[in-house]
């Protein structure tokens, strides 16, 4: 493995210009993700999380002063498009495609014949708890199921790095905690590298090997905390002193940053 980990961000900046005023979205973002790690990222709203994600997905270009390295190689000009499995906040399932065809979307784009793509996707349905729903249309599914289909679509696009942007943000608390445990099981079996955005501290600590906390805008890495809770983790882990200890520390930082955002906008 190259010394730079799977993904390395070095002094990444992003400034937006409109009508003569400059807005700094990201300022000197710097971190490395090792292969196989589950990294969660939290920060106050408007801290540039989504911009950061778009940069890592190759959808946006960082400013020239920093660099993004993937598997040790510097990435420029949309190089990352097609290299990272990206799951945006909304499920973005296509209403005209069946659940099966939605799941197989990325495979089709990669050029796999439709029949083979369907077969490959169908094989994952039991594991994602969607068996029997292959021929349904998305509008017939519940929110949790739609999110699983979206996740399956991301999983089937087999890339080393999974980029998940608040995938459970729109779900109710109960479904959400079920989905978190289920995601950890899937991850334990497939062992991909995950970068997971959330604004929920419990979720960040419960899922992550590491929690990165972003500062208020302009966004930068405010703190990078290892979470050494044993795996596999069950819901019980959230009640352990170790968990609460991490939570207390992170909560103080997140609150401080949120207050900055709040007073800046007030």
């Amino acid at each position: 493995m190259p010394a730079e980990g799977l993904l390395a961000l070095r002094n990444v900046w992003k400034r937006f210009h409109s009508g003569g005023t400059e807005t700094v979205a990201l300022h000197d973002v710097d971190f490395v993700i090792e292969p196989g790690q589950f990294v969660t990222l939290i920060g106050p709203s408007g801290c540039g999380k989504s911009t950061l994600f778009n940069i890592i997905a190759g959808l946006e270009e960082p400013d020239g002063d920093g660099s993004v390295l993937f598997q040790g190689q510097p990435q420029r000009h949309r190089d990352l498009l097609g290299k990272v499995s990206f799951m945006p906040q909304k499920d973005l399932l296509f209403p005209w495609r069946t659940v099966l065809d939605n799941a197989a979307l990325a495979l089709e784009i990669e050029g796999m014949p439709r029949k083979a793509a369907r077969q490959k996707a169908a094989a994952l349905f039991p594991e994602f708890g969607l068996q029997g729903f292959e021929k349904h249309y998305p509008r017939q599914l519940s929110g949790g199921m739609r999110q699983r289909v979206a996740l399956m679509r991301t999983f089937l696009f087999e890339r080393e790095l999974l980029l998940l942007d608040e995938p459970f943000g729109a779900l109710d608390a109960l479904t959400r905690s079920m989905m978190q445990r289920w995601l950890l099981e899937i991850w334990a079996r497939h062992r991909r590298t995950v970068l997971f955005i959330t604004h929920d501290i419990d979720e960040a600590i419960f899922l992550g090997d590491r929690v990165i906390v972003m500062s208020a805008r302009p966004g930068t890495v405010r703190c990078d905390e290892r979470v050494d809770l044993p795996r596999p983790r069950s819901g019980e882990v959230m009640l352990t002193p170790q968990f609460l200890d991490v939570k207390r520390r992170l909560l103080a930082i997140v609150e401080e940053e949120s207050r900055k955002t709040f007073s800046a906008s007030a």
């Binding site: 973005l92 296509f94 784009i109």
Partner: protein
């Protein structure tokens, strides 16, 4: 589909019609009785059938050509944005004039035969399909497009897998409005100058102050339009199969 309510409504309308004639002693040249209109059609079925057939073929031909042109142009405009900026203002300008206004020109350019009717039908549909399709193709938001880009899809892949299916409901709206406009354009064009067709039949009956046969022509034209619309509804269901 449940046809009962519409059948009842239609029967009620016909009963009201008969009642009004009986009650207010409306003379036949002002408003003929429904049964007389039906009889007038049945006395000369060949005339009305061949007239309606010609009108339908002209409307369908022009509709298909205009719809294809409008759809194709919209796709090109989405692929080459400068084309959209250049042509859409012109399209809006032309389409804001009722297409009926172009009929005299069409008759001068394409003669009294079917070509002028087909051209008018095409003109009546092309812009409404163009503008609706264009709107539909632009409906997918940035996030959905970005998702496909992140999977490595190119411009055409995004068009084929996202924009075209997403545009279909808007395309269908355009087709529905367009078909009605095409039929109107053909019939009016036939009334203003033609050798045959249902519009010409209505026109000749009007000139002869023969209200019964004007009504007969209108009734046949209405039945024909309904049939065309039913065919289009079936096509629409295939275009938007998921809702």
């Amino acid at each position: 589909m449940n046809l009962l309510p519409v059948t009842v409504a239609l029967a009620g309308l016909l009963a009201l019609w008969e009642l009004a004639i009986a009650l207010f002693r409306v003379p036949g040249f002002v408003l003929p009785r429904p049964l007389d209109i039906a009889t007038a059609v049945m006395e000369n079925p060949g005339l009305y059938a061949s007239g309606m057939l010609l009108t339908a073929l002209e409307a369908i031909g022009g509709f298909a050509a205009g719809a294809a042109l409008g759809f194709g142009l919209a796709v090109l405009m989405v692929l080459f944005r400068p084309l959209e900026r250049a042509l859409v203002p012109i399209a809006i300008a032309i389409s804001s004039v009722p297409s009926i206004a172009f009929i005299p020109l069409a008759l001068v350019w394409f003669g009294l035969g079917p070509v002028s009717k087909v051209a008018m039908a095409a003109l009546a549909v092309v812009f409404v399909v163009l503008l609706n399709t264009l709107n539909g193709l632009k409906r997918p938001d940035r996030e959905a497009i970005n998702l496909l880009r992140s999977f490595g899809a190119g411009r055409l892949g995004i068009l084929w897998r996202l924009q075209l299916p997403a545009a279909m409901p808007a395309v269908v709206t355009g087709l529905r409005v367009g078909l009605a406009r095409s039929t109107i354009a053909v019939i009016v064009a036939e009334m203003l100058g033609a050798y045959a067709g249902i519009g010409q039949i209505i026109y000749q009956a009007t000139v002869q102050v023969d209200a019964l046969h004007v009504w007969a022509g209108v009734a046949v034209a209405t039945a024909g339009s309904l049939l065309l619309n039913a065919v289009l509804v079936a096509v629409d269901r295939r275009l938007v199969w998921w809702s």
